[in-house]
């Protein structure tokens, strides 16, 4: 049975993987779709949707689907945007940046979650 720590590392790994995969997709979208403004318009919703689908297909069984949905949506969207912005650096560079984006989103959500929990402990919940 995964412990709370197991879920922490699982969520982190899933965020990084989704970020990397959607960065590759964003990179590909940027190279193959023109004009550029159309590619940028597509990249965020496509990344969000792709991230969610990837999460549901690969990670939800181990980490819970509903619980990781928001994270995968954000990691996918931000990863795809980062990948699109790194179109000139090659797909490996884009994917590395996507890993960073996924980890950053994960850490941002964790920090925000901790802040909400701290406020609730002080009786602030509305």
């Amino acid at each position: 049975m995964p412990s709370e720590q197991g879920f922490f590392w699982g969520d982190l790994g899933a965020g990084a993987a989704v970020g990397a995969a959607m960065a590759a997709a964003g990179h590909g979208l940027m190279l193959n779709v023109s004009p550029v403004w159309l590619a940028f318009l597509l990249v965020i919703p496509a990344g969000a949707l792709g991230g969610m689908m990837l999460n549901m297909a690969l990670f939800a069984r181990f980490l819970g689907g509903m619980e990781t949905m928001l994270q995968s949506w954000l990691c996918g969207a931000v990863g795809a945007l980062v990948g699109a912005c790194m179109a000139s650096d090659g797909v490996v560079g884009a994917m590395a940046a996507g890993v960073g984006a996924g980890v950053a989103v994960f850490l941002g959500l964790r920090l925000w979650s901790a802040r909400i929990a701290a406020r609730a402990r002080r009786g602030i919940w509305s």
Partner: protein, 205 residues
Amino acid sequence: MKAAERARRKWDRAALGYDLMAGGAQERRWEAPKRALYRTMGQGRILFVALGTGLDIAHFPPGRDITGLDISPAMLKRAAPRIAAYSGRLQARVMDVGALDFPDAAFDQVFTACTFCSVPDPVRGLLELHRVLRPGGTLGLFEHTGSRCFPFNCLLDALTPLSRLVGPDLNRDTVGNVLRAGFDVESVEPHYLDIVKTIRARKPI
């Protein structure tokens, strides 16, 4: 067709694959906060709303006097072995939380998990729980709710029409609904962002 009948049919359909959907990682992830909530079950009369296939029974403390209910007969049929294995008094009844067949103040405590994201009229259901709970009695909920964070709530609003087809709404204001039903909210403990939380409330004396 009435909302309650639609809900019964939906959950009857979901019963077959429910353990597969909710009994894996989701159940393990939230086991600790659920156990912490159920540890507050006392020795009085306890109502557990939405027993489902009985996944939560393993987390109940032993030796309690619990009445479990669910709107879906198919769910309770699947729960039967878990109900039989509980080392206490646990009886299950098919009932809609919006129309409870219990007298006023019949219970000392009410518990439920992941229920008021799915009940068609949550305030009506919570008003019924308020009625059957004795004055001073406690309500403990573990729930998925909407978020106070605007972009997240936009996403939850957008996804709710889809999620509703197979199960819960993702954007309910359950803390607000508990207050609207006349309870005093004693604590809200978020477990994941602002969307998964334990809510503890009390019926005023």
